[in-house]
Symmetry: C2
């Protein structure tokens, strides 16, 4: 989670909502990414999406069943869908996101019968720091 | 929808599940794409995602509020999330997808309170041909 928080800080420095994600295979960091939709002109460029895409490209396959995802914020519906498509084994996330989260809020995607793969999910990992980064970012913009 | 069906046929020829998508701005085709997760080693490479990303890159921004999306199959949760993030104005889709769809099935994402943008949605456009492409594809693989 430390590497994901570092990526989140890098996002904030670029003026992006501070969220970071890392794909791990065992102890190995396969890919890390910072949230970057504005910078990249890509509405799909959430940290999770970029990390999953980079990991799949690096491993040369479209399924990551031997990988785990660490992310500083509860994934949204888009990212939860991508996690299921990628067959990620475990998801560890930081702060809960009552406004846009899709794991423990809203669609609760992994509990839907139309979700074809349910990772193990662990929330609240490093949520203090992850949440503080987000609060500071939005406070500075007000 | 004709261009989206053409992209779906191209996907089938590459051995991918035949789904195609087109982003339009008024009468102008901004981007068209075929489903390609296996070919691209990218679990997020659904037709809708590729078309939205290409359109955003072409227009140099991360919001497509003046654009519509045409897609041959009901979008999944990942793609519905991306459609909302991109602020797509209208979604026209072909065949319904009871197994993986997230518009009229499963999470019904656009009706969730955590969905920040609800496009106008029109289903069943060209569904006969879109559904036949999918049935033929899966029948040939059995």
């Amino acid at each position: 989670m430390r590497a994901a928080l570092e990526a989140a800080r890098a996002a904030a420095e670029s003026g992006e909502v501070p969220v970071g994600a890392v794909v791990m295979r065992g102890e190995e960091v396969v890919a890390a990414a910072a949230n970057a939709p504005r910078t990249l002109h890509d509405p799909t460029a959430h940290a999770e999406m970029l990390a999953i895409r980079a990991a799949a490209a690096k491993l040369g396959r479209d399924r990551l069943e031997d990988c785990d995802l660490w992310v500083t914020l509860e994934p949204c519906a888009m990212c939860a869908g991508a996690i299921a498509h990628a067959r990620i084994a475990r998801v560890y996330y930081g702060a809960a996101d009552p406004k846009g989260g899709a794991v423990e809020h809203g669609p609760r995607f992994f509990s839907q019968p139309t979700c074809h793969h349910r990772p193990e999910v662990y929330g609240g990992i490093g949520e203090g720091e992850a949440g503080a980064l987000l609060r500071d970012f939005f406070a500075a913009r007000r």
